[in-house]
Amino acid sequence: MLVVEKNALSEEIESYVEKYGNDRSALLMILHEIQKKHRHISEFAQQEVARLLNIHPVEVYSVISFFAFLNTNPKGRNLVRICQTISCDMKGKKQVVEAIERELGIKIGETTKDNKFTVEYANCLGLCDMGPAMAINDQVFVNLTPEKAVELLAKVK
């Protein structure tokens, strides 16, 4: 990482700390902001957050590893999360997943070569009556069929 990039990141995190305070309870909000902007929380960012909140880097890492929506390695520009719990499974999740895997040429948990998509499983999206469900970034899609899922992916930029 270049020094300039590091400084920019530090400044950015400092602005979040200013916004949310330097109490340890501000940690999650700050991590979400970093995640939103950079799609991951780098090693350096974690240590900077720890420094500014006066906690240990391993505590920041612990929190990140606890939450599925926070990650330490960069992911694709678009995140596809497919509900893996039982009702979606019974309504044909498997076929949807196979169609998506075939369409993008990757397996669950992987990122496409052009960095456009990362596909992963999510635990219950809370739409058990309308399964199978999946979320593309922040938007949720329900009652999926393999065809519908592929169509949805094609619309994503």
Binding site: D23, S25, Q46, Q47, H56, P57, V58, Y61, F66
Partner: protein, 637 residues
């Protein structure tokens, strides 16, 4: 940090701690509870566990530890509280109402058995090949509750790689039962912050920052986590095999130096109660094992005092008389855990660290130079072992700069636990050994070197010498019995001021460095003592902010709570009571010694006459007895 309200926050971030009232009955805040149909009155807020212990009722615990905050994660201590739907963890249940508790009901017994069974279902490893066999809390619990069957399955294949990257601490996460004692030790007790729970639910494991190997993170190697681990998941990096090989090799001359703290604790490994020293017995046992010589680290401790004391005097002289800019206060450098802590967390202060090596490394350098010359043994054939209460000493002897003799100064650091194991392997029962003395030419050491083992000891030893050097008076005339009590005790941070009302003549040893003491007349020597890195952190933050500790002249830091006697290589368990007993043993032994001041040790004077001829802090001693430090910083790239 007044806005830190979270209870989980490390000690130094908490706003304040309300001490427990010593006589709660005077405050009137007491409650009568019924435990197993017996009435008991306890202070408001006492946990069920504490109440039961007062009533002599045994409650099994696993994640609970006297030194650490309440966690309530293992659930082994569950009890039945009348009117509550579920069983309650007694360690985390403060009594605030007159409740009725049952500790032995069928539900409790069954639940405990299942809980232990569940813990074991995730615990991989065979007891008989584990170093904690017969000293394992999980094993004893399983026995206590008759867990004779894996009702919930058992791990049959290892799931994790053993992390033996560190010279000091080895982590085997397959044996971990996630009690988080190490996490609480590292974050709350020591405030180093290396270990934390990673991932969630069933995938949880204890890991470091980004799951890096321990050698690559900011671990200071204090080993406090080892002492608190209830299972064999954490252990010290064990050099026993190499040492046995060296002993069996007839071409090798194997010498061992023994630090003061292991002697006061090693008896615990042989079923003796804490608080008894086995110095003489240990010497005999070491020779029977096959060590060619058994030396006393206290000799090097005496040397450390002379070197470090001289360094302090020189720094003060430069600052006060020559008006040069020197780094003050001077910090002690005997504790390798503390040294690494400073290198990581306060690298801007490494100039304040005394450049004098720790006693272990001083002795290592002398053995392979002075002793080798004197006895005519090729230093290449000398294997130098150091018995230490410490896991960080293993790291220290492997530091690349520790080779001033031309060889690796100390070959192996051995902990108290490991030596006890070696003694057992040799078929020796230590307490029954006859007593014998240390070997010459370092045979005699002073009580000042001995008390290095307790917190405040280095300071007291240094003061005994400095007071006599400067005032020309006997310490016994200033402090009764030469016991400098203001620096003793177990309070986390201690501060003392020593006024220098009159000065004497400069002793011969220092005459080439200082012309007279007049510049110290009427001055006040300000000193402080801190033990445990959490307390060290408080002092360092105060120095950074320009508080009263920044005006100190000399500060003793020890990485481990209680000083070396509570070190990470000491017998398990270690808690407050045991630390107090060990300290008593050390101070009692000090009282019984004829020589109690470092500068009165005739072997040290001989060394300066014969070998280090240009005196303390001279060229030779700088080459052999002083070192330099590395600015490590806490960022991990």
């Amino acid at each position: 940090m007044e806005d830190k309200k979270s209870l989980r926050a490390p000690v130094s971030q908490k706003p304040h701690v309300i001490p427990k009232p010593e006589h709660p009955e005077y405050l009137g805040g007491s409650i009568t509870v019924e435990i197993n149909e017996k009435k008991l009155t306890v202070p408001f807020g006492t946990t069920i566990l504490e109440a039961c212990r007062q009533a002599q009722i045994h409650i099994p615990t696993l994640c609970h530890h006297e030194d650490l905050c309440v966690a309530g994660v293992c659930r082994v201590c569950v009890v039945e509280v009348e009117g509550m739907r579920t069983l309650q963890a007694s360690c985390a249940f403060p009594i605030t109402a007159p409740i009725k508790i049952k500790t032995t009901s069928n539900a409790v017994r069954k639940a405990r058995k299942h809980i232990i069974d569940l813990l074991i279902s995730e615990h991989y490893g065979e007891c008989y090949s584990c170093f904690r066999n017969n000293n394992c809390e999980l094993q004893s619990l399983a026995k206590e509750y008759g867990v004779d069957h894996y009702n919930f399955g058992h791990v049959t294949q290892p799931r994790y790689e053993v992390d033996n990257s560190s010279y000091s601490v080895v982590r085997d996460m397959d044996k971990c039962v996630l009690c988080k004692r190490c996490v609480r030790t590292c974050i709350d007790l020591q405030e180093v912050g290396v270990l934390e729970a990673i991932n969630r639910g069933h995938n949880t494991h204890i890991g470091t920052f980004l799951d890096k190997p321990l050698a690559e993170v900011i671990c200071i190697n204090c080993g406090q986590c080892i002492n608190r681990c209830p299972t064999g998941a954490l252990r010290a990096n064990d050099p026993r095999d190499e040492i046995w090989n060296a002993i069996d090799d007839p071409t090798k001359h194997v010498v061992i130096q023994t630090a003061p703290s292991p002697r006061a604790a090693i008896g615990e490994e042989f079923g003796q109660g804490p608080g008894k020293s086995f110095t003489g017995e240990l010497n005999t046992a070491l020779r029977r094992i096959g060590f060619d010589k058994a030396f006393d680290t206290n000799f090097a401790a005496d040397l450390t005092i002379i070197e470090e004391g001289t360094e302090l005097i020189l720094r003060l002289y430069k600052a006060l008389v020559k008006k040069e800019k020197v780094a003050l206060p001077q910090f002690t450098s005997c504790s390798p855990g503390w040294v690494k802590y400073l290198e990581h967390f306060y690298p801007e202060y490494i100039d304040n660290l005394s450049s004098a090596k720790s006693p272990q490394q001083m002795f290592g350098a002398l053995i392979k130079t002075f002793y080798a010359q004197k006895t005519g043994i090729d230093p290449a054939n000398i294997v130098s072992v150091a018995l230490m209460p410490c896991s960080a000493k293993k790291f220290e002897c492997n530091r690349p700069e520790m080779n001033s003799s031309g060889y690796k100064d100390v070959d192996y650091g051995l902990t108290t636990r490991e030596l006890a194991q070696m003694i057992k392997e040799a078929g020796i029962f230590l307490p029954e050994m006859p007593q014998s003395h240390f070997d010459d030419p370092f045979g005699e050491a002073s009580g000042a070197g001995l008390i290095f083992g307790a917190t405040g000891g280095v300071m007291e030893a240094a003061l005994r010498s400095v007071i006599e050097f400067v005032t020309g008076k006997r310490v016994e005339d200033v402090y009764a019995n030469a016991d400098i009590t203001p620096v003793r005790g177990f309070e986390g941070i201690r501060y003392a001021e020593i006024p220098i009302a009159e000065v004497g003549s400069v002793p011969k040893l220092l005459q080439h460095l200082i012309p007279d003491w007049n510049w110290l007349k009427g001055a006040t020597l300000k000193i402080a003592v801190a033990h445990g890195t959490a307390n060290a952190k408080k002092v360092m933050e105060d120095i950074k902010a320009g508080g009263k500790f920044s005006e100190c002249h000399f500060i003793e830091f020890m990485a481990c709570p209680g000083g070396c006697l509570g070190g990470g290589g000491q017998p398990i368990p270690t808690n407050e009571q045991i630390r107090k007993k060990r300290a008593e043993a050390i101070y009692n032994e000090d009282k019984s010694l004829p020589v109690r001041k470092s500068h009165e040790n005739r072997h040290v004077s001989e060394l300066y006459e014969m070998f280090l001829t240009d005196g303390p802090c001279g060229h030779n001693s700088h080459k052999l007895l002083h070192t330099h430090y590395v600015k490590r910083g806490k960022y991990i790239a």
